[in-house]
């Protein structure tokens, strides 16, 4: 698919969701997997907008690129915000706690990590690159084995 470049602001979330849903449709993902992909991309991008660009004291852009292969849908997110590796974030420790003892945030990256098959982070020059991978069902054999 053609890449999408949007300003790193919350207004861009709709366009990002639209692009992600189109990629999921092109990959023929089932509704649950498609939802999970949208959630993961939304959380990663929201984190970039609210933290990556906020602390960098500048507005930058976010670039999304979907690549489809027989086996997987790969979505790459690139930004020029402060260096941040979401794969190094430890999972929240307060998920079992009652509401009065929970933190208000910190769930987005956790949900993103839980929602995709693989998340890879790279720092390339002045850019963060997050690579999200969703495995695709393997053609007709999948239907037979499931049926």
């Amino acid at each position: 698919m053609k890449a999408l470049t949007v300003p790193g602001t919350l207004d861009a979330l709709d366009a990002i969701a639209e692009y992600t849903i189109a990629a999921a449709e092109a990959a023929n993902l089932d509704p649950d997997t498609s939802y999970n992909l949208r959630l993961a991309i939304d959380e990663l991008v929201t984190n970039i907008i609210q933290h990556g660009y906020k602390t960098a004291d500048q507005t930058g852009t976010i670039r999304l690129q979907a690549i489809l292969s027989d086996r997987a849908l790969i979505l790459t997110i690139e930004d020029k915000g402060v260096p941040y590796d979401p794969t190094q974030k430890s999972p929240p420790r307060d998920l079992h706690l009652p509401p009065e003892h929970r933190q208000m945030g910190g769930l987005g990256i956790y949900l993103a990590m839980k929602s995709v098959d693989r998340l890879i982070y790279e720092r390339v020059g002045d850019r963060n690159r997050n690579i999200v991978m969703i495995e695709r069902p393997a053609g007709l054999n999948y239907d037979w084995s499931e049926g």
Partner: protein, 113 residues
């Protein structure tokens, strides 16, 4: 995001329609938290919400805290299966009361007093 607020006897029914993400959750948060007056009974109808990110969870946690601090009650109805799953893996179902339909949600709020 469409927010519709109605009074049904003692219960304030808040109907949301649209996606709950970082772009829309803050507006919803402002509106619903102002409803958390002392002993308020709030029913949040999410039938029209097909997508919710962690920004929605943050709004829900904030609402829950305001409602319980004011000795009120809040019930969620009409959660899409994927939203139910998000709330489950983050532990939100441990403390939120959820119902499938508006009627069952109203019944829960009207029996507790």
């Amino acid at each position: 995001m469409d927010i519709t607020i109605n009074k049904l006897q003692a219960v304030t029914v808040v109907e949301l329609a649209g996606d709950l993400d970082a772009n829309t959750a803050s507006e919803v948060q402002q509106k619903v938290i102002s409803l958390a007056t002392p002993s308020s009974k709030i029913l949040l109808d999410l039938h029209g919400v097909k997508y919710m990110s962690s920004a929605g969870l943050r709004m829900l946690l904030s609402l829950y805290r305001h409602v319980t601090a004011n000795k009120g009650q809040v019930v969620l109805v009409g959660l899409a299966p994927q939203i139910y799953k998000t709330m489950s893996i983050t532990g939100f179902l441990n403390f939120f009361t959820t119902c499938e339909t508006l009627e069952s949600g109203l019944a829960v709020l009207q029996q507790k007093s």
